[in-house]
């Protein structure tokens, strides 16, 4: 999970992102990689990244 989100860290730290963001999980999700795009809230990802950092799971 960290590996999949690592490349997104910088992106989600940008200011003025739209609330609704589409991301592409590295290996896809589900059988036959059925889901290649997941729409989610940018503030959710920002909070997730903040928590990764606070818990020292993030490294630059």
């Amino acid at each position: 999970m960290y590996g999949e989100t690592h490349t997104l860290l910088g992106f989600f730290e940008k200011e003025n992102l739209p609330l609704d963001i589409a991301i592409h999980p590295g290996e896809g999700l589900g059988p036959n990689r059925r889901i290649s795009t997941v729409r989610m809230r940018s503030d959710n990802m920002r909070m997730f990244i903040k928590m990764l950092k606070e818990n020292r799971i993030y490294y630059p």
Binding site: M1, G3, L29, M47, M51
Partner: protein
């Protein structure tokens, strides 16, 4: 309301019961999604068999076939209606009865195909019931052993494993986490993150970081 993951937590029985009450057995069977020729077959077991009595492969085949239909045939209104309803009916039975983790992955990603915009208020407790069942199923006792992911969930024995092109992470852990990142609210993300960082298992950390 805070949402946390705690290893060894069983599914919420009250939530499962509410889902069963709100989505009783359909009267008409869902059609198959992918077929060749003029005749389209139907999944009659959905309406004439107890979902907990169908074998795992039958359930898996159904979810993979109709899940593809949900994604690729959005204009088939009649089929879409039956597929969508049948999933809601089957969900509490399949998530409870089958302890194969990759069926859980099928259920999680099927739900994400059905609800790309968020979880609707189908009934008052629907969102919470989904979080307390599908969203928490990765924490079921069967998937954990001594505070870490169980050997069971670490076995990569899915016959279609090559579909993922990797054996370095468990697809269900990834799917379950994306499920939460997608459907939780920002304040719920905080408590959920705190709970997943408190899990100390070596294999859990490996999957979290891989």
């Amino acid at each position: 309301m805070s949402f946390v993951w705690k290893p060894g937590t069983p599914l919420d029985e009250a939530a499962l019961d509410r889902l069963k009450q709100h989505f009783p057995k359909p009267s008409e069977p869902p059609p198959e999604a992918w077929f060749m020729g003029n005749k389209q077959n139907y999944y009659t077991w959905v309406v004439d068999t107890d979902p907990t009595e169908v074998d795992y492969r039958t359930a898996e085949t159904y979810l993979q076939d109709t899940g593809g239909g949900i994604k690729y045939f959005p204009d088939l209104e009649f089929a879409q209606q039956r597929w969508r309803y049948s999933f809601h009916y089957l969900l509490p039975y399949l998530v409870q009865h089958y302890d194969k983790y990759y069926l859980l992955e099928d259920l999680v990603t099927y739900f994400m195909l059905l609800y790309p915009e968020g979880i609707p208020d189908t009934y008052t407790e629907f969102r919470q019931d989904i979080l307390d069942t599908l969203g928490s199923a990765i924490m079921r006792p069967h998937f954990w052993h001594n505070g870490d992911l169980s050997p069971f969930i670490r076995e990569h024995d899915r016959t279609s494993w090559d579909a993922y092109s990797t054996v370095f992470f468990s697809p269900i852990v990834s799917s379950a986490m994306y499920f939460c990142l997608k459907y939780l609210k920002p304040d719920e993300i905080k408590t959920w993150c705190e709970s997943i960082f408190e899990i100390n298992g070596t294999h859990w950390h490996y999957h979290l970081l891989s």
